[in-house]
Amino acid sequence: MNIVVLVKQVFDTEAKIVLSSNTQISADGVTQIMNPYDENAVEAALQLKEAQGGEVIVVSMGSQKAVEALRTALAMGADRAVLVDDPALIETDEFTAAQVLAKAISTQNYDLILSGKVAIDGQSSQVPARIAEILGIPHANVVTKMEIKDGKAEVTREIDGGIEIIEMPLPAVVTAQKSLNDPRYPSVPGIMKAKKKELKTLSLADLGLSADEVASKMAVLEYSLPPARQAGRLVQGDPAQAASELASLLHSEAKVI
């Protein structure tokens, strides 16, 4: 059972966003973490490996910053890591990311590809499904339960207003919802061991790709910060007066109830 896990280094959830220009988000001084849902994907892979044997390979596309996320995954117990880092990949869309990652994955021997259900920075939830399409294999998103046996994955996934159960032949792509498991913390021996594990950095040329053939379809024209909300009005009075006043403001002034 060889499992590829896609991980991404992202800004911490408590980070404030600062623009260095209207086309650039500043990363200066921002704490970065492994995308939280990717931790669930790594955990799922490690549990499968513990139960069924095999190898867990973590793969990321990004700058050298992404090494931290990969080292974290190695410290949790993944076996080796692949980072695709190329100057041509600094501003890319999901089409590019999927082409590059699919190519990197295709050089590995894999039965299952896992990732988080969404990266909390770009929030597009596109890349795993695009990779599945490129590799010609099925995918299931937002998975809360997974069982792998007899060359098949049976997964429970969230849909609007309920859940569904899907059975897919392997290899397949599965994206993890938070409730899939509780990710382990890297242990101190794990962190020490991680330093000696293989972490290979590849360029586009190493993958046999040219920047042109994976060029983005979408372009960011500009970034803007949302208009600050003004603190509004504090409704005064004893609880009964305040509640009555608030209800009438929502009804007559804001017209929302």
Partner: protein
């Protein structure tokens, strides 16, 4: 020659979902501005009657793919049918709701069509150079990106529910019945069971009103006072990460950067302090109300209306006042 603006319509219980009506309404406006045709694409089984409903909201044309194989949503079958239809007709723009189905289907279809996809957009505007531009919140709304697909066609986007008003503009659409054939390679995943949870409450991401509780709720059973208020208002009930992490509420109700991003008309935050990651998930709500006993709570800096006080006293009183208004 690319032509047309398409909306991939979702249905539930025999009628078109509200988010799809929003997309048809916004699509009709854009189509008029661009001098394009608006087409609805409906996939399912026994759905022929929905074509007329799509026409009510401005569709000039309705593609109906009506087949038993499409009765339940499956990524493979839906991708197969939709990608072929796009390939044959070459629309300029294809819009999906940013729903469970839209988020699952659109990336796969976009990849097959070699298209870019703008996910979870909250606004779109006609553009001379790029046909259309989209605004999409990143980092759960801490920053907005204006994006476009300068050259590649079709352009695709998923649009967040509640981003556009529903506007009727009745037309008698041309109905095109689509011959359904699904490639064997797209049938490898088998749907074994669908279990709908009969909560009777609107999903958080589609709710027009949300009543949310934080750590100040203190105990899981105390959420009943928020549910009572929600019942009166026809609202969904959400929770902050602090409430979820303290075991007061299940993760599926979490609003914030690692939960759901919402933009209801009214968001009532009860006992929520207002951490950055929570504000990110509800910042774009039209009206925010905060009820918190701590006058220094960060939530008051974004609230349109606030009450400093004990939520256990105020919320039941507010419920009674709302009942009077609704009566």
């Amino acid at each position: 020659m690319s032509k047309g603006i398409w909306v991939v319509v979702e249905q539930a219980q025999g009628s078109i979902r509200k988010v799809s009506l929003e997309l048809l309404s916004a699509g009709a406006k854009l189509a008029a501005e661009k001098g394009e045709e608006l087409a609805a694409v409906i996939l399912g089984s026994g759905i022929g009657n929905l074509a007329g409903e799509a026409g009510q909201y401005g569709a000039d044309k309705v593609f109906v793919a009506d087949d038993a194989k499409l009765a339940d949503y499956s990524t493979g079958a839906y991708t197969s049918v939709l990608a072929k239809l796009i390939n044959e007709n070459e629309p300029n723009l294809v819009l999906f709701g940013n729903t469970a189905v839209g988020k699952d289907l659109a990336p796969r279809v976009a990849q097959r069509a070699g298209a870019g996809l703008a996910s979870d957009c909250t606004a779109m505007a006609a553009d001379d150079a790029a046909f259309v531009t989209f605004s999409r919140p990143l980092y759960a709304g801490k920053v907005n990106a204006k994006v476009a697909s300068p050259a590649a066609r079709p352009i695709m986007a998923t649009i967040r529910p509640n981003s556009f008003p529903v506007v009727e503009s009745p037309k008698t659409p041309e109905v095109v019945n689509v011959a359904v054939s699904v490639d064997a390679a797209d049938l490898r995943a088998i749907l074994k069971e669908v279990i709908m949870q009969a909560s009777g409450r609107v999903p958080l991401t589609e709710a027009t009103i949300i009543v949310s509780g934080g750590r100040g709720m203190k105990a899981p059973e105390n959420f009943s006072i928020l549910e009572d208020l929600a019942d009166v208002l026809g609202a969904a009930v959400g929770a902050s990460r602090a409430a979820v992490d303290s075991g007061l509420r299940d993760y599926e109700f979490q609003v914030g950067q690692t939960g759901k991003t919402v933009s209801p008309v009214l968001y009532i935050a009860c006992g929520i302090s207002g951490a950055i990651q929570h504000l990110a998930g509800m910042f774009s709500s039209q009206v925010i109300v905060a009820i918190n006993k701590d006058p220094e709570a960060n939530i008051f800096t974004v609230a349109d209306y606030g009450i400093v006080g004990d939520l256990f006293e105020i919320v039941p009183l507010l419920t009674e006042e709302c009942k009077k208004i609704k009566a």
